[in-house]
Amino acid sequence: MTRPLLDVEGLVKHYPVTEGVLRNEVGRVRAVDGVSFTVDRGETLGLVGESGCGKSTVATTALRLEEPTHGHVVFDGEDVTEYGEKALKRFRRRAQIVFQDPTSSFDPRMSIGESVAEPLRVHGMRDRERRRRIVGDLLERVGLEAADMDRYPHEFSGGMKQRVGLARALVINPDLIVADEPVSALDVSVQADILDLIEELQAEFGLAIIVISHDMGVVREVCDRVAVMYLGEIVETAPTEQLFEDPQHPYTRALLGSTPVADPRRRGQGTKLTGDVPSPSDPPPGCRFHTRCPEVIPDEAYDIDAGTWRSVLNLRLRTTSGGIDVEAVRTYAAGGDDPEAAEPEAVRAAIREEFDLPAELPDRRAEEALSGALDRIVVGDTEGAAERLADAFPTVCRRERPGLVPEETDLSADEWAAIKRFRTWLATLVDADADRVIDRLDRRCAAETDREGGVDRLAVRAAFRLPEPLSDSDAERSVGAAIDALLAGKAADAADELYDTFGPLRESACHLNRRD
């Protein structure tokens, strides 16, 4: 079967920020902001990123432990976001989650056996003896003993408890397991055991697994493919070894470069990433990583290296956020004396020093703009300085939001997004008969068809915003074939066509890699 088990498309989860008794919405935390990925049967996908990047929220919303704000989650041909209560319960039997902290995920007053059997009971298995048989069998499979089922959580070490956690997730024979930081709370000496166990169980049960982790080492150890997240978005997906050997996104490079390596001869070689992750309630425009990116793209008008450009942009960002304290700079420049006594020249030099800027930028026009802005800061006109800097030092990384571009094709980001949207829509109809497919198609394309004519190729293209022709000829051929199949009512064939052609592709969202 070529269709993935799980296809998540355009997943969004925003948390409103409210104020006052009336709980007026004053803002929203964009925890997950348009995330798409697929997981095949028997595949392990890693979701990595810093804390706060939304990786856990992706998991909880995809499993509908929380309601997604937008987006589709297609699980085995059905859209999970449209499930009612009953269907949801059935779905949860097939998709399980294992949490980071094995200690807090067990009821201390229930024996291990009761805890592991609980999902069976919840899902309606009344026969106690049968439950015990299943639990005993499973405990043995995860490396414990059947007799352990009458013991209590406190009698187990962290690693053993995590084994029990896996047994509990497996007890109702799921197809998909989400493991949220499965080994982060464990000592390194037992991490390898649990990771081995996860791999074994996957092979034995043919599971699809999503491993969420901040630890690149863990991800490299167990995952087939990896999706890297930053501030609610996926910035790169790639097969694991490719991602580690040849990362395409600067953020991935920075993340890998920051991971300490157990080799003292390679110390200090990592990328130096400055600053904190910005708040997801107010993400930067354009590429969300541009405020920290060491490879941020200089404006074409200047001859300036990436490092200096980074420094200039840091000054711009800080000035814009009102973060330049002129008084403090003056005090510093005056050597701790009366700030009023500081020479303007010394103040300018102090700012350059603070931002690692050279005494003079190599590019004449850039230098003119910079010193002009510095002059305004010196006289206390930070707003004017901010304006000047914003005018003089634009970057495409801030101006335009880069979309994910598939590496092996000539598709643009928009085309690729449209194909994925189309494909996911098809995936929800794979079990429908031709009449229903046509009916759904008619409704989907209603806005695009005039009263006379029925739905045709052009209407489908317009409804799904698929330009004709696409910029990649293979893609064009495949999408054309899929549309033909769809118009014939064969949604499954159409979906298969697209999943076959665009199997998991390597993607990255960076202006450095895009093609226009």
Binding site: E50, S51, S157, G159, D187, V188, S189, V190, Q191, A192, D193, L195, D196, H214, D215, M216, G217, V218, V219, R220, E221, F244, A254, L255, G257, S258, T259, P260, V261, A262, D263, P264, R265, R266, R267, G268, G270, K272, L273, T274, D276, V277, R318, G323, I324, D325, E327, A328, G336
Partner: protein, 354 residues
Amino acid sequence: MTEPLLTIRDLRTVFHTDEGLVRAVDGVSFDVGRGETVCLVGESGSGKTVTGESITRLIRTPPGDIAGGEIVFDGRDLTTLSDDELRELRGDRIAHVFQNPQGALNPVYTVGWQIVEAIQLHQDVTRATARERGIDLLDRVGIPEATRRFDDYPHEFSGGMKQRVSLAMALATNPDLLIADEPTTALDVTIQNQILRLLSELQAEFDMSILLITHDLGVVAEVADRVVVMYAGKVMERGGVFDVFERPSHPYTRALLDCLPGRGTGGARSIGGKLPPPTDPPDGCRFHPRCEHAVDACRAGEQPPAYPVDGDDDHVVSCVHYEPGGDPSVVRGEEAAPTDGGRPVGGDTEEDDR
């Protein structure tokens, strides 16, 4: 070589618990030289944190008790000091930074207030001077807009920034020794990287020694000058960072390196078994029940003494295979280091093996 700043000899820290006597630290010895970074590394339960806390007697007594040994800091044995004398030293010449910056900062006071308090506790300066120094410190630890952030409360800082604040507090009195217990474990790798770089910069700037306690060998490789590997309250191996990583000698050190995930070497191997119960450690080498090279001599008596590796007195290992006349290649396999110009260690058997 000049006198080390800190010398720990045969330190024994015990806890009296309902289950019996726990020998958390059982005969630990190592030095921290001036301006040097020493890493204490081990799994949880190895006694590394208790070792760090014993130095300034931060452990709760009772149930804890420093039952023996010497802790000589700059010529004075800290175990003989009174609580008052120790309090003067603590936070002044010896500062601590902990894993969780949240817990180290008081949420109801501004960070500036807390830094000023730390400065004024040990130095007789005016509030204004302390404030100025505090702002300078925040700036030094890399907090942008230090003047403005000075009057912010801890919750207004991110985790990495909070750790910077607690570093600033620790540095307020220009300590000679900084004891940092898992200072980056709660942080993201990108922020961890920043804090580790900052530590090295500050170390050079303030000319201080650092005792860094961590379970993360990656962190050790990044910052350590010397490494002390602990297991179940005992020191297993001790040496320069290059020696320990490139010629790991104790089976435990080797196992610890082998279980690191994702090194691209094709599969991490876990250490089978588990830590021995703290109230009833095994005889002989504490690691023998999990050691694949254990022989009868490992199972009886005391933990083996610290034997030099390849005749190097600065790289020692507590393993019977390294005793004079023993055969280290049992542990090190094919890549056993040749006997260099130093003192031959059991020459015969080694010759046979090659």
